[in-house]
Symmetry: D3
Subunit: 282 residues, 6 copies
């Protein structure tokens, strides 16, 4: 990720404009003369970490490619309240028609970047890195994963296709229940997909041991106590990367980080981020 | 709205599966035998108002149309923690591949329905009705507006095309500034789009008066004090519908409702709803 | 409408070129050298009102973006026979390949504008305005509604989504038959879609009265006699807008307009307009 | 052609429903209970030749696949006024939502079939066959060409790709003007596209001779007098097929046919056919 | 054909990039700085006939439109080993991401052109022309038919729609078996599709005779011996064009050509051409 | 892979039918009665390994879903000449229209499976596994990679997104040339994409050592001599997987396998496989 995927962005903007503008922005067409010009400023109405300015620019330009846009801030920057992010000038009709969709994107993506930055700051000084999950908004995964990197977070796998992650439901769904389901599953995955990294969820220290022996690259410690995590870190001793998940919030994350795990994944970065307040001032 | 738009839903599910599954669910293909069967239950992990079960069913069926699904709850119902919503049975591979996307939809939509229901309950006994806004997730507007109705809310306009709403930025963008910009804009809109209802934002009592005289169907009272709203309600006296917006939250909404306005619109219903906790248990 | 919707136009042109050109213009590729240049003039072969020049320009440019096109006329103008509309210069191959599709669009749209202008002229001096209907060519509605405005007509609703229009078939389809079906239907529509204008068909004066009482914005007088229309105009007295339809042609339209109705809708503007004669001369 | 192209039809119906229904049929959703059932009859309101019943059926079924439809007539039949064409039964909401689009298709296509049948009847007893042209509605060519066959007409080439037709503009665009441009163009076309039939426009008897010598399969006699046509028929004597065009209407067509030409092409079949009157009765 | 169909090419490149690049070129993004510049040369690693340079250019430009590309060779040229075809300069990331897809196209298309040129050379001096078939790669037909022309070959029909070719399976599928099935089929085809050329497969001299009498434009001599072909050529004597197919390879093709047939069609041109070796050197 | 991706297959078949059938199979429509029934057999005309029967079935069913198809063989089986693969029965028109596209797919995919099986057999008894590459037919990658597995081969990465593979051109494009470019690139890749496996090309033993030290999962030995490969195998000693490529053919592959490398990748499996001979007999 780290780079905003351009085609994905264009598709998302196109879809959003289609559902908002439909057959035309009746209000603007009725009230604003076609030759009226305007200058508008996109302004942060609260302190936030910026993400998605390219998406806003794309939105304005899909409505009218002749709009002049000056970037006053940049993705990944932490800005104060009242900071201007973009200056848009050109036909007032185009600016007004694009306004809501542009804001919807930037408010949502900056909301994700802002909450991610809080988690990243909370674990400052430990080796733990903050990961996102697949609990993203349907249709916006790549944009949201990009926003996580703007906040200093790191991307877990993109989807079901680019990494193996064997979870409790996979183990539960195996018809027979061998004493070493974890090991068997890891081995089967490594055999079938040599090109993919393999992670497995482990709920007990026995399962951690089985995962290591089967050659897992990553082990997911889900809903473990801090003590259990510390034990896992000690016992694994670098033979696999450890990821903690479950019950992670801004109060608990530092304690988890201090157990020595390599990664902490946080679903709330994307599934429950509050949209930050950003306005378009004429 | 009120009916979940079927084609829209199918498109959204298809897109979400494409971005999650990509070229294949490597984990499931590697670890789960093709002939393994399973029964899974989608269960509310907290008290919530249900929305989006059809979307979940669509997701499971797009992955494999042969999955058997039993609906144990229904959209619009308030359910207790641990309540089962759906029972899915069939090939374990298909259930596992669809799991995350199905949950992403239902958690998000039920989150919207749940918070909407809180606002609706807060204004119980007044005449005010809770409206959504255009501050929706790009690409999911129709689904989210449906979720608002599941929570007892009402839909404002769908987009820029089905109603006129003249806001402060429209007035600001008018090149000349006549003393009666509000009235002129309303009249122009009525003239050009006789088939559409016309709403106009009014920030002062003078503007309210101009809006009434120009024949506005609705007047948007944005960021007014309670006293100002009461005055507007008194003065308008039913000649137009009044909508309040700005600074609306669960603490303030009842006070606003008691001023006598007809509608209260709340952007947070869709732009900042927390995903509620729902799990898929095998 | 009034503005030709750009994306819609591009889509329509693309589709039309695909079905006409298919895998290639064999005749032109076989007989015209790639480097042959030409100048062509699009000329009105009869008196007509112009509509769709942008669509023609788009067609030529989709075939080859390097064609030079000079606009000699403009949409909405009434032109004499032999008047040049466009001058196109550049590679002869591109002009020949685009010719038929460009003409097909302009002939059809100008045909609509021309017949609309005749109806508009026929009601000159009355307050009645000429409306189109939803009886448009499948796939070309927005272009055709634009052509109606070029002829001086006004657009009725765009589709089923942007206005309520309760017709006789809706009333017939209501399972129970209350004595006041009209009023009940209007009230239900206003309740469910406060953002949309409501029109209802009324075939008798009792139904007109019920419509008024229920607060309809518009009343459709379908196939009424001139006397019945005059009575309705008198009785309604401005409390709702009145639209006449049925049996409208160039002979009858002035009489209808003189009854005092606000609008007269004419399906034939779009469903049976003759293509006017326009040629491309080399 | 002769068979209604299924995929094309489905695409056209989908597009037409999208532009008409948009985000939903507000009137029907507001006024008709979801469980109301209805029976409707599609009825010819004038004498006509039927075309497009499959398109109507497709329209109703795209709106709701559970509608029961009984075909009472068939494409290609001439029916009297008041003849029922289809009987549709099922949910009233679905029938009402599909009504306009279904009628728009059948009225237009039957209009084409009806006027085609008049031309075909007018030349009865001669060897001339009635052909359509490429002057079709953008986006509906295949459906309209099918309608022509329902009226007893025959299809000329489908588009620019499946046959060579060298017209006056091609000859005009050739940079050099050899004394035998017609012959040179025909030979070049036969050389480059051996798989395609070659037709050439000839305005003089010299050009007819050149076309024959160059091996043209068809010769287009455009805007010739009856005498000139008779001469061409005599002179060509079966060495190529002859097609007449220009100035063809119901008054002139029989005279043209009696000159002995093989085909008469009529643009008005598709570019100016009146929509016939068909109603949906509940 | 002969001209590379532009829209087709763009679609094919887009699809190929989508399946190769997917959500991003991880290797390049991880290892190459965004501002690194590079110059690369596309070089023939063996002697070959060039085809598809436009497709390569399109590929590089779809990845990044700012790449500078200098054409050093051209489609249709025979080049020596080590000959440079294109020089690409600009951001190294874009060149590396596009490399494989660009090469996949050019290697395949040049492979087809190269083998076609061998067949064309083998029949040098006879009147026989080398034709391709419909045995092309699914999804790439137009590009491959273009490559055949780069090698000096000629295109048979494009698909099932632009010419009639009655083969043994059609005759076999006719339910009744008249003594003159060939003639009946040819006549039916000419009657129904006057605009299309008609070819028929003949396996015996009786069938050849029937084809001639029924007016076939082409006769396909499938798997005939050289003697049988010579007899057919003698007997037909120019009344129809003759095409040979079956058992054609570089050893047999000249002998077939010398029988006097007009065309020889070779499925292997497209279904089994070896990709020639072309490299991208930095 | 290993499972034929269904949606991909449907898309590929749809595209192939579109380009072949276009607006209709004129020959079949003209000569075969709509009610004629037929039984056809798809038969191997040479010994081969089957791949793609599902694609053939999909093709027949997209043309007419009512065709009855009996599978007599299965993907992955080695069959003798004259072995029947499928039996298709139903309307003759549908079978004839689908014939060529169905055969084009099965001949090409079975060609890939057949040549893959030869390579797999050649290395029988060694630990080396045969891999494909990204040198696939544009637009058919997933189908071709599936065909490789039918022949007993194994899939390398799917595209640029699911694994890191640092090749010579990446190293060449690095602006600065550090003494340890290999190690630096591997480390950067592991840091940026922890979820992806990392492979690097090594041309010298020093580079192999750098790759191991930097933690590469796979090392690509490109164009090494057998001695160099043996040295690399000895020195690496299992610390990374080794893949050989370059100059691999049926004569050389066993020698390469006996050096002890883990994988041998062969571009020719997909870029130059001959289509095997398969016929459809009526």
């Amino acid at each position: 990720m780290e780079l905003l995927p351009k085609e994905e962005m264009q598709r998302a903007v196109k879809l959003a404009l289609a559902e908002d503008v439909g057959i035309g922005d009746a209000t603007t067409l009725a009230t604003i003369p076609a030759n009226a010009l305007a200058v508008a400023r996109m302004v942060a109405s609260e302190e936030l970490v910026v993400a998605g300015l390219d998406v806003a620019v794309e939105t304005f330009h899909q409505v009218f490619s002749g709009l002049q846009i000056k970037r006053v801030s940049a993705d990944g920057l932490k800005v104060e309240q009242r900071q201007t992010l973009l200056e848009i000038s050109g036909p007032a009709q185009a600016i007004l028609t694009a306004e809501r969709v542009a804001l919807n994107f930037v408010q949502r993506l900056s909301g994700i970047a802002t909450v991610t930055a809080m988690f990243v700051e909370a674990v400052q000084g430990t080796k733990a890195r903050i990961l996102d999950t697949r609990k993203t908004t349907p249709g916006l995964r790549l944009l949201e994963k990009y926003a996580v990197t703007c906040g200093g977070g790191m991307n877990h796998r993109i989807g079901l296709f680019d990494m193996i992650l064997i979870k409790d439901n996979h183990l539960a769904a195996l018809s027979e229940e061998p004493p070493n389901a974890v090991g068997a599953a890891v081995r089967r995955a490594r055999e079938k997909y040599p090109a993919l990294k393999v992670e497995v969820e482990a709920d007990t220290s026995v399962q951690v041991q089985q995962a290591i022996e089967a050659g897992a690259d990553f082990i997911l410690l889900d809903n473990m106590t801090l003590d259990e995590m510390r034990t896992a870190v000690f016992w694994v001793n670098g033979r696999a990367k450890l990821e903690a998940s479950g019950g992670v919030n801004l109060q608990t994350v530092r304690g988890i980080a201090e157990t020595g795990v390599d990664f902490i994944s946080v679903g709330a970065l994307t599934h429950s981020a509050r949209a930050v307040d950003i306005a378009l001032d004429f």
